[in-house]
């Protein structure tokens, strides 16, 4: 059930015109800088600091509960991080690209053209999350580091290498964007084949070549399309469409890449660890995660890494191996492994939805106070500074979480069946693995 949204002239005009996107960018950039400023100069008390509250509660809630599940990489299309670097790289914000590159414009090394680095950056952020998520100054440092790194990389490399290969957020958004009911695709591949200049990739006076280093004509999944809309602007044949589609459309064709498979494990495992760490009753675990550099933190680090990169993949591999044996499959174990890992995408997404619901509903009240007093300086801009903290909708929290987890499991089972039929391997062991993980996650959330 694909439905082309760009068939509506107004939608197409809004997406094609640079100004709507620019204005959203402007607001996002202001908010981003404000978060950095409040982190450095505002109160060090996390729940009263705009940087913490708006990044880790408000933005995260919108991202994981709305943007990613429904719009895929929609956030990437308005993320302010690449904006300053791209301005430097292109020498312009709105004007058509010149012929001469402004900086080094190097190609990203072939060996790094995967998401292993993103797996690494996400793991690094995850390992320090207790500190990053609660300490405004550290959040500010991380945000500032991201924007400076993006600027630096824009000056050295071509296109958006930071977004594509480094950004810790971009990696999992790309993975879960496959499940989203929104896509950018070409209408007719034949048109692309016969297109001589391929301005969607190379750029033209109408716009820039794909900043995500993707040839739209070859797009089969959402993972690496940043929805920046440049190809919509450059395509001389009006062959680009933004479509709605059924959820998880991309997952019907399972991945063959190990970096993407491990991204799925990282996300699944991190959600489980966080549920235990942030929502569980284990004070010593919280303390260990927070005491960076201490012996207990090293213990946490080892446990974190072993769980995500050892235990989970090993158990999953076991499940896949049993599936292979049951089916007397001829497919290589690696192929089955990566194919079935794709089925963990909906499960991981729903794990994150369930986990995020918990802390977002618990902490959402802080949004009102920090909106009026973003720095904790005693302001009361909108008269909401004194609104006391109170968890909201707690009565429906557990039913919602259970529903999300159950839905995620069913969704994963259905995806595993499709993956199984692709590689001719029984999906039952993988479904059992997913069920066990879901029960464990539910136990952690209860």
């Amino acid at each position: 059930m694909h439905y082309e949204l760009t068939r509506f002239p107004l939608v197409k005009a809004l997406l094609k015109n640079r100004w709507p996107q620019m204005l959203v960018w402007l607001v996002m950039l202001a908010g981003f800088l404000f978060a950095i400023l409040s982190g450095f100069f505002g109160t060090p008390v996390g729940n009263r600091n705009f940087g913490i509250v708006f990044v880790w509660i408000a933005w995260w809630a919108v991202l994981i509960l709305v943007a990613v599940p429904f719009f895929g990489r929609g956030w990437c299309s308005v993320c302010p991080i690449p904006l300053p670097g791209e301005w430097l790289q292109r020498g312009a914000i709105m004007n058509p690209p010149g012929n001469k590159p402004k900086w080094y414009n190097l190609r990203w090394p072939n060996k790094l053209r995967n998401i292993w680095l993103q797996n690494l950056t996400f793991t690094l952020v995850a390992l320090f999350s207790s500190v990053i998520l609660t300490t405004p100054k550290v959040t500010a440092i991380v945000l500032a580091a991201m924007i400076f790194l993006a600027i630096g990389m824009s000056m050295v490399f071509e296109r958006r290498t930071f977004c594509r290969y480094i950004c810790p957020v971009s990696g999992f958004i790309g993975l879960y964007a496959q499940a989203a009911p929104l896509e950018l695709r070409v209408k007719d591949k034949q048109v692309c084949l016969t297109c001589k200049d391929k301005p969607c990739y190379n750029g033209s006076p109408a716009g820039y070549g794909c900043p995500w280093d993707v040839f739209p004509g070859g797009l089969t999944k959402n993972t690496y399309c940043g929805l920046c809309m440049e190809c919509l602007r450059t395509c001389p044949y009006e062959n680009i469409a933004v479509n709605t589609r059924p959820f998880s459309d991309d997952l019907a064709k399972p991945s063959t890449r190990m970096d993407e498979a491990f991204k799925a494990f990282i996300m699944l495992g991190a959600a489980m660890i966080y549920a235990g760490e942030f929502l569980g009753p284990w004070g010593s675990l919280k303390l260990a995660a927070y005491s960076v550099g201490s012996i207990s933190w090293f213990g946490y680090l080892v446990a974190f890494l072993v769980f995500i990169f050892g235990l989970l993949p090993a158990l999953f591999l076991g499940a896949v191996w049993i599936g292979n044996k049951l089916s007397q499959a001829t497919a290589a174990l690696k192929k089955s492994f990566t194919a079935f890992a794709t089925s963990l995408v909906p499960l991981g997404l729903m794990f994150w939805v369930a986990f995020s619901l918990s802390f977002v509903l618990t902490n959402a009240a802080y949004i009102f106070s920090s909106l009026s007093d973003p720095f904790g300086w005693g302001w009361n801009l909108f008269g909401t500074a004194a609104i006391p903290w109170q968890p909201i909708l707690t009565t429906i929290l557990l039913p919602l979480q259970t529903l999300a987890l159950a839905g995620g499991l069913l969704w994963t089972a259905s995806t595993a069946r499709k993956a199984g039929s692709e590689v001719k391997v029984s999906p039952v062991p993988v479904i059992v693995f997913s069920t066990a993980a879901t029960v464990a996650m539910l136990g952690l959330l209860l």
């Binding site: 008390v45 009263r48 312009a92 004007n95 904790g376 005693g378 302001w379 500074a385």
Partner: protein, 326 residues
């Protein structure tokens, strides 16, 4: 389209400048004439700034916030009520001093093991330029007591002395013994030794005599004083000394780790009955003794100190607070 590029550049640059400049400008304007004080647990620096200057009769505007946990701001030897200083929120207080001097401000919330180190000073100048008259030295100084020396009681009662029972022998006491001076300068054990050799009290056995001493201690307090002593003890002392004075408060383990000694045990008759009120006054006012005991001199008024001391003896004597002072 012609103006898109310059317009977008202007928008971005002005947006960035706006975000960077406006908060600080607004804060600078709003903070004029106000001193901002940040409270942190003592291990992270305590009060910042820790010294404030003010002038007699000129309102001092303070804006306080906590950078970690809940604290509370109070001024020693003052009736000004304590105000809570909440994490990430601003609390405004305006103070006006009518006398020059050095005032101590301190935290009244148990914020950490070194809570009592959270102190700062307000130096108030101006007004009557003449130097304030020198105060009377505290009793423990006048008596030249060595407050660091061990003070075990030579004799202790078998049970808990009953003040109410001791009241029946009150007529046997001389006015000298009944005086405030005698009470403050003698330990209960010392009083026992004095009275034991008093010929008019030979008819009393040791138990009767201890009851009489309990009565003597009770008669030097008032119900209001004991109530205030109890309140101040609960507020300032229980975290280390424990609710029942047993030296086993929630921070006692930390004190042991820091100072190598547990806090004083007021329920131990050997040490407590060997301590005169003046000796306890010295310990409270000066603090120290290598135990992590804070100096309460700048915080408590003279009467508050005596009231706490009166309350401390209730860990040894069964006193009837309603009958105190009689």
């Amino acid at each position: 389209m012609k103006y898109s590029e310059p317009l977008s550049r202007i928008l971005i640059i002005s947006g960035v400048l706006l975000v960077l400049a406006v908060p600080f400008a607004a804060q600078a304007i709003g903070a004029q004439g106000v001193i901002e004080i940040h409270a942190r647990v003592a291990e992270s620096g305590g009060w910042t700034p820790s010294t404030i200057r003010a002038k007699v009769g000129v309102p001092l505007h303070l804006r306080m916030t906590s950078d970690d946990v809940m604290h509370s701001f109070a001024i020693g030897q003052s009736d000004t009520p304590a105000v809570d200083v909440l994490p990430g929120q601003m609390t405004d207080v305006t103070l006006t001093f009518d006398k020059p001097g050095t005032y101590t401000y301190y935290c009244t919330r148990w914020c950490g093991p070194n809570h009592w180190r959270m102190r700062g000073t307000i130096e108030v100048t101006g007004g009557d330029s003449a130097s304030p008259p020198p105060g009377t030295p505290p009793l423990y100084v006048t008596l030249n007591l060595d407050i660091d020396a061990a003070h075990p009681a030579a004799v202790i009662p078998v049970g808990i002395p009953e003040a109410q029972r001791g009241a029946q022998f009150a007529d046997l006491l001389t006015t000298t013994v009944m005086s405030l001076d005698y009470y403050r300068s003698h330990s209960p054990a010392h009083a026992f030794e004095d009275l034991r050799v008093d010929p008019s009290l030979t008819s009393l056995n040791n138990s009767d005599l201890w009851d009489l001493i309990a009565y003597l201690w009770q008669s030097n307090s008032t119900p209001e004083g004991l109530a205030e002593g109890q309140r101040l003890f609960a507020q300032n002392c229980t975290a280390c000394h424990g609710e029942t004075g047993g030296g086993n408060g929630v921070f006692s383990a930390n004190i042991k780790a820091l100072a190598g000694k547990t806090p004083a045990n007021f329920s131990d008759p050997t040490t407590m009955l060997g301590a005169a009120p003046a000796l306890l006054q010295g310990k409270i006012l000066r603090g120290g003794m290598g135990t992590g005991m804070p100096s309460w001199g700048p915080i408590l008024t003279d009467q508050q100190t005596w009231n706490i001391i009166s309350y401390l003896y209730t860990f040894q004597f069964n006193e009837n607070s309603a009958a105190a002072g009689k």
